[in-house]
Amino acid sequence: MADQRPAVSVRSVNCPNCGAATAVRTFGHAVNVVCMSCRSILDAKDPGVTILQKYRDAVPREPLIPLGSRGTLPGETIQREVVGFQVREIIVDHIPYQWREYLLFNPYHGFRYLTEYAGHWNVVSTLRSLPDGDHLPGNSGTRGFDGQQFAHFQTATAKTVFVLGEFPWQVRVGDTVTAVDYVAPPRMLSAEVTSGQEVTWSLGQYTPGAEIWKGLGLPGSAPNPEGVFADQPSPYVTVTRRMWRNAAWLLAAATLLWIFHLASARSRQVFTQAFRYDPRQIQDASLVTPLFEIDGRQSAVRVETQTDLDNQWIGVGYALVNDGTGQSFEFAREVSFYAGVEDGESWTEGSRSDSVTLPTIPPGRYFLRIEPEGERIGKPVEYRVNVIEDVATSLWYLITVLLVMVPPIVTSIRASGFESRRWAESDHGSAGSSDEDADDADDDGEDGDDD
């Protein structure tokens, strides 16, 4: 028998102000409906239809999404129809900021909201559960919901400045409510507080305009977003995380390789010989060593110069020459050592020995050409030259570490810049609420600018 009951039919109301007919899309839910022609707010429940508020604004504000648009919101499978539209405003530091809210309806699944500010969209639904912690929303701190911590963004008085379509509750231009937003991009936890009467919590999901345009089958394309919005996900978050993760893997690999390299380096001495250099002798002091064998694979070779210098320096020009190929590796070292006593304190400067590592020396038979030089008035110097093959080197490791770290560090800096722009718009930004919010009717006097 119940199935025989007729479907609820769509009706329309005639505006007593201008006579135009306006369709009612939410059936019996409509409490107010705005005349599509003269924008008077009408009482949709009154069979005679009375005017509740006449439209006085000179500037018409057309919704970006036309009323009556029907489609599927991102993340949903059911259809909803756009039935209401309102423009709301907050005033921060004497500057008005306006955003737009669309009310979407399904006779079974109820209402959802779309909010838009500067091309940034959120799909918003009211919550069945309260966030954790202290229950009335405040002016700072964080609130936990659904396993996530939401950071306080803004507390302000939101005022309705324009309405169109219909609403399942009373709505008037000039209505105010305290709006409190907490963010954990890409989500926003919001509370609307009607003093002493009601706290309504809702959750917004940041949604690209293009997805909404697609879901609702709207013509053209969504306007490009400007600036950074409160719960806009940072494009750097995943990138930065991935870069640090990759860097960590690379560093781990490099470190393993380095440790393996340290452990496997044989550090075998292949040549050692003592020499004497007398700088006062006129004759050419250059000499050539006997041949020695550098075996195994291509490896780093260390050349050590150990002296008995005493308040003196010598320079040694070296050439490591491959006897087979004639390939020559030339390098110059300077060794100096000074010591004394000044004001009862002994001091030293420099070192009696020096060592240098040649990173990639192919195996083969080699000799060293050695050309020492020094102060003409200097004392004779005893020095010993050691050649050690297959030594461990760490420079490549240090360079790798630096190169691997640069990209994530740069990205992290960019990510931090993005977050600064996000929070600059909040109560906790560097610009802004340190001034007295004279226009802000809300009592956020104890607003802690603590972020």
């Binding site: 839910h29 409490v31 559960s129 009467q197 009601e198």
Partner: protein, 210 residues
């Protein structure tokens, strides 16, 4: 489920009490509110046509809550400053009375709970918390409302009241509670906020174009 039939004391049309818990019903023919006194029926008033409202639920809508089936037996439509909401009287398997509240398609199912020392209207201020049955509830709304219509069978006699206060509370885990100050002593209902899909409702109202 045994049902009893009788005739409307006003117009003589047949009346059926489908649920043993029902105390009053509204005659579908003449809109008389008829109260059962177990022996005979008494007409206590007449209700106006229900005002326009948009609930998808209607009398005899069936659904599920947890492991039980229920059927909608009656309702009270409340009106407040901002609009209206419905309290649907549901009868679950085993004849248990419950309430399915529908405020702009936000649904909650609750059951009366006997509880000593309930807060007064003044004590239950917005944001105040109370612990009942080991669940911490916080006041989220205080509403002054009056009945705008009744329909079907109700488990108590209720058809004409002044504005009274209803206080809704929620927890951080979908629990829902209402403090009802209709009578001298506050009444408490505790339950759960539920999604439309969870209720698996059948025999719903149909809407043109949907």
């Amino acid at each position: 489920m045994s049902s009893r039939t009788a005739n409307c004391p006003n117009c003589g049309a047949p009346l059926t009490y489908r649920w043993s818990s029902s105390v009053q019903t509204v005659c579908e023919h003449c809109r008389s509110v008829v109260v059962r006194t177990d022996v005979d029926l008494k007409k206590v008033g007449v209700v106006a046509d229900l005002p326009l409202e948009g609930s998808p639920i209607q009398l005899f809508t069936e659904g599920h809550y947890r492991d039980k089936n229920f059927i909608v037996a009656g309702r009270i439509l409340y009106q407040f400053e901002q609009g209206t909401w419905n309290e649907w009287h549901i009868v679950l398997d085993g004849g248990i009375d419950g309430w399915l509240s529908d405020a702009q398609n936000e649904f909650a199912i609750s059951f009366p709970v006997a509880m000593a020392k309930l807060p007064s209207e003044e004590q239950a201020a917005l944001g105040k918390s109370f612990t009942w049955n080991e669940t911490r509830f916080t006041v989220v709304s205080r509403t002054l409302a009056h009945y705008a219509g009744v329909e079907g069978e109700l488990p108590f006699e209720y058809w004409d009241k002044e504005d009274v206060t209803f206080i809704d509370l929620r927890s951080d885990r979908s629990d829902f509670a209402t403090l009802d100050y209709s009578d001298d002593a506050p009444a408490l209902y505790i339950g759960t906020a539920v999604e439309f899909e969870e209720l698996r409702l059948r025999n719903l109202r149909r809407f043109e174009g949907w």
